[in-house]
């Protein structure tokens, strides 16, 4: 049986992991390579790297670091941030990324998903959506969640999948950072609309939130989180052992 995936997400700016990271035994806690290795050794099933750099120099540095990560660890790598063209796909795939996640780039250019899926295959293209309730309607937000595009989220995600996106990362702005659990209602709506893997993001505060996620929504394929892993509030080996003990398929 295919396992549910646990995915830590690393935000990288100017070659360093941002958001304070606090690990014992890691001498360089903001080195993307050291952290990637740490998570891989802990049993993370996949890693997501978001490039939040704005400058061209930062982007080059990110690309170099990605190559270094891909030389060091051998689990699937997903890269997002600053992906606006098919050339951007090419740039990160050549460095050893397995999947590329697009967000604002797909909002600006709706053909991007289609072009990339045609060239690299559906399995390579991930649509990452920042979604928030506005007057009771799920809306897609752009620019890191700052700008309401006015688009209804479920139909937009469905359109991206129809265009060839092979996976969806759903980040609920409503639950992000609140640490009271994933946005089950929003996730359920997306799971019912698409038949590709859905990754839940935003809201995990403790191990039980993952149990609730996978129990309530068996269609969800993976849980993604950042700070609770970075700060050691939830340790990945403990989390996976607990979930496995509860009968949720895990790679131990």
């Amino acid at each position: 049986m295919i396992t549910k995936r646990i995915i830590p997400c690393l935000d990288v700016k100017n070659g360093r992991v941002v958001k304070g990271v606090n690990f014992e035994g890691l001498s360089d806690v903001s080195s993307p390579v050291a952290l990637a290795k740490y998570y891989s050794d802990c049993g993370a099933d996949e890693l997501v790297f978001y490039d939040i750099t704005a400058s061209a120099e930062g982007r080059q540095l990110f690309t170099d670091i990605l190559c270094e990560v891909a030389r060091t660890i051998f689990i699937p790598l997903t890269v997002g941030g600053g992906i606006n063209t098919v050339e951007d796909f090419d740039r990160v795939l050549k460095c050893g990324a397995d999947k590329v996640s697009v967000n604002s780039g797909a909002i600006r250019n709706p053909d991007l998903v289609k072009e990339a899926a045609k060239r690299y295959g559906d399995q390579c293209v991930v649509i990452s959506a920042d979604v928030k309730r506005v007057d009771g309607v799920f809306r897609v937000f752009a620019k890191g969640g700052r700008e309401n595009t006015g688009m209804e989220a479920i139909s937009w995600i469905k359109r991206c999948v129809d265009n060839g996106a092979g996976e969806v990362v759903l980040n609920s702005i409503d639950t992000d950072g609140v640490k009271k659990g994933f946005d089950l209602e929003m996730l359920d709506a997306v799971c019912n609309a698409v038949d590709v893997p859905v990754i839940a993001s935003g809201g995990a505060g403790c191990m039980d939130d993952f149990t609730t996620l996978f129990r309530t929504l068996p269609k969800v394929d993976a849980g993604l989180a950042a700070s609770i892993f970075h700060f050691g509030e939830v340790k990945i080996p403990d989390l996976k052992q607990k979930l496995a003990g509860e009968g949720i398929p895990m790679r131990i």
Partner: protein, 206 residues
Amino acid sequence: MVAIVDYGVGNLFSLKSSLDAIGADVTVTSDEAVVRRADRILLPGVGAFEDAANKLRATGLDRVVTEEANAGKPLLGICLGMQMLFEKSLEYGEHKGLGLIPGEVRPISEKIPATLKIPQIGWNALRFRRESPLFKYIKDGDHVYFVHSYAAMECEESVIADTEYGAYLTAAVAKDNVFGCQFHPEKSGNVGLAILRAFVEYGGTV
């Protein structure tokens, strides 16, 4: 020396890196002489069968790989490279493979329940079916990383491991010195590296 056959499909960076990581002497090459000189051959592949098979043929490396394998040189096909070891594939029409292992490649939709997602993407457990030198350092039930919509069928005699995704699908095959993995050992963590190490150490049939 291990030759990774480069025939213009997909990115070989991770595969080469994984061989580097286990200390293997590895070369990515499209040069017939290098493939002939190598101790063993890795045949990678991603994308569509027809396109990949055509590209391999266009380089003439299909003949080189087949001859070397028939002469006893260890060969490991990975993902689409594994599928190409078979006689034919039914991916968008019918296309001829290298014919090194009896069997054919068919859509997994023929076997699995319609409720399951296609492609199968993610970590799944290996169920050993036969002993194999490839499994020297791993155990039954270990997880490896799959991304595929097609699988080898009608190949019961060569299956060394399968995996359960609504039905049992071929995960790894072997026939004498020719091996194939449907999953990606270069993305399967330490288990994947252990499989590559076993292949690199495999003494062959000669």
